[in-house]
Symmetry: C2
Amino acid sequence: MLTIGKLGEAAGVKVPTIRYYEQIGLLPEAERSAGNQRLYGRKAMERLAFIRHARDLGFTLEAIRDLLSLSDRPDQSCAAADAIARAQLAEVESRLARLTALKAELERMVVQCAGGKIADCRVIEVLGDHSLCATDHRHPETELAQ
Amino acid sequence: MLTIGKLGEAAGVKVPTIRYYEQIGLLPEAERSAGNQRLYGRKAMERLAFIRHARDLGFTLEAIRDLLSLSDRPDQSCAAADAIARAQLAEVESRLARLTALKAELERMVVQCAGGKIADCRVIEVLGDHSLCATDHRHPETELAQ
DNA sequence: CTTGAAGCTATAGTTGCTAGAGACATTAAG
DNA sequence: CTTAATGTCTCTAGCAACTATAGCTTCAAG
Ligand SMILES: [Zn+2]
Ligand SMILES: [Zn+2]
Ligand SMILES: [Zn+2]
Ligand SMILES: [Zn+2]
């Protein structure tokens, strides 16, 4: 059995984060030692590794909650899990598209500035006027999140 | 003079967001009508458009605060403004790199799943075990933000 | 002149944590 | 065995950048 600190170290998750996951019900309530300290076994460790990995792949905690409850029912079809993954892929693709446009605009800005006074700075000028942009990079309904 | 609603419409910014910007000091306190409603002139409109555009390009409100105070001093060198823009470009590039890796992993996951039971689902399997990943996509110190 | 939209303030909620305060538990050294 | 240094406990508050709600006042159209 691992203490919370050891578990965090093993899984690459900070201690308060583990407690937070328990608090929001993503991890079950941990067993406690005689002195009221949390103790974790292999199952908890695997569950936390799953969460950590899914977070690293950009899934929200809500999506992870769903994936975890799916993974607890091995006999069911995996269609729902696959749908969550495909939605996450679509999300990532849309962010990629947006960031690619942003990168192009930012590059244009910094390249075009000759480096004089603020009054002549292309960066300041472009920020004040989107019509000077080459692409339509504007924030659609897509959230900035992640 | 525009009311807050008209200003928001013109600049593509929601009304509560404008009030929020005023509250945090990003916009100056607006003039008020006899009935205590905010009124905006062309300067406020330009300032809000600048903020909106910079937000669309991914700058943080802190960076925008700095850019705005720089743009209020037209005689000074634009080096500081350019540095902020280059930092933002670097940030975007690092997010792009990470998202590109995520996209590759997510694609691998969804492609490899044959679509049967959860017990055999490649999505669930890979989420539980990063060693099944092709790339090291893990979250460095870089924040997930935006 | 009435009514509905738009404005006002103030507070709380969102996501996914992170940081602190103050108290108890465990471990290692002396 | 005692102390000191960590580690852990709970609880609360804070971060970005808004968004939503409640309960009010003001404005503009018919
Ligand atoms: Zn410049
Ligand atoms: Zn633009
Ligand atoms: Zn599957
Ligand atoms: Zn992985």
